[in-house]
Amino acid sequence: MRRQGEPFSTIVTLITAALCTLLLAVFAGLLGYGETESIRDLFQEPEFRFALRLSLQTSVAATLLATVVAIPCGYFLARNHFPGKVVVDSLLELPIVLPPLVSGVALLIFFGPLLGPFLQEAGIAIVFTPLGVIVAQWFVALPLAIRSFRQAFAAVDPRMEKVARTLGCTPFQSFWRVVLPIARPGILGGMTMTWARTLGEFGATAMLAGVTRMKTETLPMAIYLSMTNGDLSFALAIATVLLLVALLVLTAFKVFMRTEVQL
């Protein structure tokens, strides 16, 4: 209950309004400062086209791979309770808390000195390759996907499945015909957020795949490279594009969830 002019409510409202204004100003500044022409030119630029294509390819691949793994894992975690589950939880959440650079270093050690020789024999190159971009993005985004899918599955009453069983479903049928369709908005929302994370990923990718122009150059890499080279307008243009993509992602997410953001 709030009355007009009540000091506490007024202060709380004012702080929120001030913060919103600040955020609006920061983002509007980015949009306003970049020249519109440079964005139009951008799509002619071969480096941008390479980065855009690489970013889209790797982020979509990483998101799909993460989804494939996260659906069974999320379902398992949503439905099973066992002693020591908190350890499994922590392990799967560690990459969320860990700085991406550290994840990247760990991946570099794992796929380099540790697994490298075996992979080389099999003819697979991960370190400093576009494949490494996918692996790094997948590794960093996977825990987010698992967490959001898990929430989506947990929100499906287990008795929905039990009823399906009494109606003649095998466990897989009840998952496929009941749980997955009901959890669909949450899955789509989670995939959207996962994709946004892979698209913006920098730290782990930089460590595992390296920051190599026109080779492992995703859009965030392109921003970083052009900023360090002093090409501010190119960086600004890409940043503007990514800001617009983020707005789109957020809108898509809200549409999927049709509720407040849960992730």
Partner: protein
């Protein structure tokens, strides 16, 4: 005609989280409507899920039509199941929800399934809502759709977990009629968990009382309500008068002597005699509606007590009870509280012990009773029901020689 044995449960035991079932045995025949009551946490839902095959059994056997189905998965048992929440699938229409079981088998479009859907839609009055989505239905509609979904493939047994408890009283009454109808006309046996005693009374042909995973008492609902077999059952089934005392032997008959008065009630009927040990601390358990309240004492008989205005048993000379042999036992009491309760008046009376009596409205109006007045209470001696006192309380002083 021999009744067909549908389900035979033998020594069923299992633990799931905080709940457990301990060595439950009972039978369900094809014409049974079995009601299960028990406090929260007594394992009622767990029992239904175990019967449906939704939780694994640890010990004991379940036989369905002589076949051992203890280890069979739920999709092969195909008992109908409905929970308190209707749990309709939100991504399907009402029609698709009902046809779900048939769709799993790829038979959703078979002519016999279509006929069955039409039939169920009529019986359950859900024809007009078949194309709607569940979120747009009322609570009663949802529960009817949930029943239709469970009944589509004509299960021989319907398991209901408090199916009506989330509904308002009017809707609930309508669905009770419907369940009765389904039980009789579809010929489906029903096991129905409920916490509503009126519902249990209304629907059940048999009743189980569960407590802490154990079978406490079974019988018809009427038997359980009138003659609970323990202090626990009497309290759980809300017998209003549970008077402490003990059984005494006098004039070659059993009588009940209360702790807080010198009065003897009886003679006790013979039927329960074997369990009712003379001298053992026990309770007299009588429902408030079994006691009649009048202004004047009626004809007396029976032995006088050792002291004071003793026990009296009254031959039924009351006009309203003039049906021959019903023997009565009466005693005087003082009215201490009067509460109007809609369809009856609850009168609290004091006579050493405290007695609750429910007086029908029509009778009440002729009484013009005030607090503090002395009245005459009476009940049929066949209603005098004694339950043993729980073990931990035997240390209490029970005033016996």
């Amino acid at each position: 005609m021999k009744r067909e044995l549908l389900l035979d449960v033998q020594g069923l035991s299992l633990t799931a989280g905080a709940f457990s079932l301990q060595s439950l045995s009972f039978q369900v025949h094809r014409d049974d409507y079995l009601v299960i009551v028990g406090p929260t946490g007594s394992g009622k839902t767990l029992l239904l899920e175990a019967l449906a095959g939704l939780v694994a059994v640890e010990a004991g056997r379940i036989f369905y039509q002589q076949q051992d189905i203890t280890a069979a998965p739920p999709e092969t048992r195909r008992f109908g199941f409905a929970y308190q929440d209707s749990l309709l699938y939100p991504h399907l229409t009402v029609r698709e929800n009902i046809l779900f079981g048939a769709a799993v088998q790829g038979r959703a479009k078979a002519p016999e399934i279509r006929r069955r859907l039409t039939e169920l839609a009529e019986v359950l009055a859900i024809g007009p809502i078949l194309n709607r989505h569940p979120e747009r239905l009322s609570g009663g509609e949802r529960q009817r759709v949930s029943l239709a979904r469970a009944l589509l493939l004509q299960p021989p047994l319907l398991l209901l977990d408090e199916p009506l408890s989330a509904l308002d009283p009017q809707t609930r009454a309508g669905l009770q009629q419907l369940l009765r109808h389904i039980h009789r006309d579809e010929g489906v046996a029903v096991i129905h968990v409920t916490h509503d005693f009126a519902e249990a009374m209304h629907l059940g042909t048999n009743m189980l009382l569960l407590n802490e995973g154990r079978l406490w008492q079974s019988g018809t609902p009427q038997e359980l309500f009138a003659r609970p077999n323990s202090e626990y059952a009497a309290r759980f089934l809300r017998v209003e008068n549970i008077i402490p005392g003990s059984i005494r032997w006098q004039d070659d008959q059993r009588w009940f002597g209360t702790e807080r008065s010198t009065r003897l009630f009886g003679p006790l009927p013979e039927q329960g005699a074997s369990e009712w040990q003379v001298g053992a601390p026990s309770f007299l358990a009588i429902r408030a509606s079994y006691i009649r309240l009048t202004r004047e004492a009626q004809t007396e008989s029976g032995p006088e007590s050792e002291s004071g205005p003793g026990p009296r048993s009254v031959s039924a000379s009351v006009p309203a009870l003039a049906e021959g042999q019903a023997k009565e036992c009466g005693w005087p009491a003082t009215v201490t509280e009067i509460t109007f309760q809609g369809s009856y008046v609850e009168v609290t009376c004091h006579a050493g012990d405290c007695w609750l009596v429910h007086v029908p409205i029509a009778h009440w109006r002729s009484l013009h009773l005030q607090q503090g007045e002395t009245v005459w209470l009476a009940c049929q001696v066949s209603d005098l029901h004694v339950v043993p006192r729980a073990g931990q309380e035997t240390s209490m002083d029970d005033g016996l020689d």
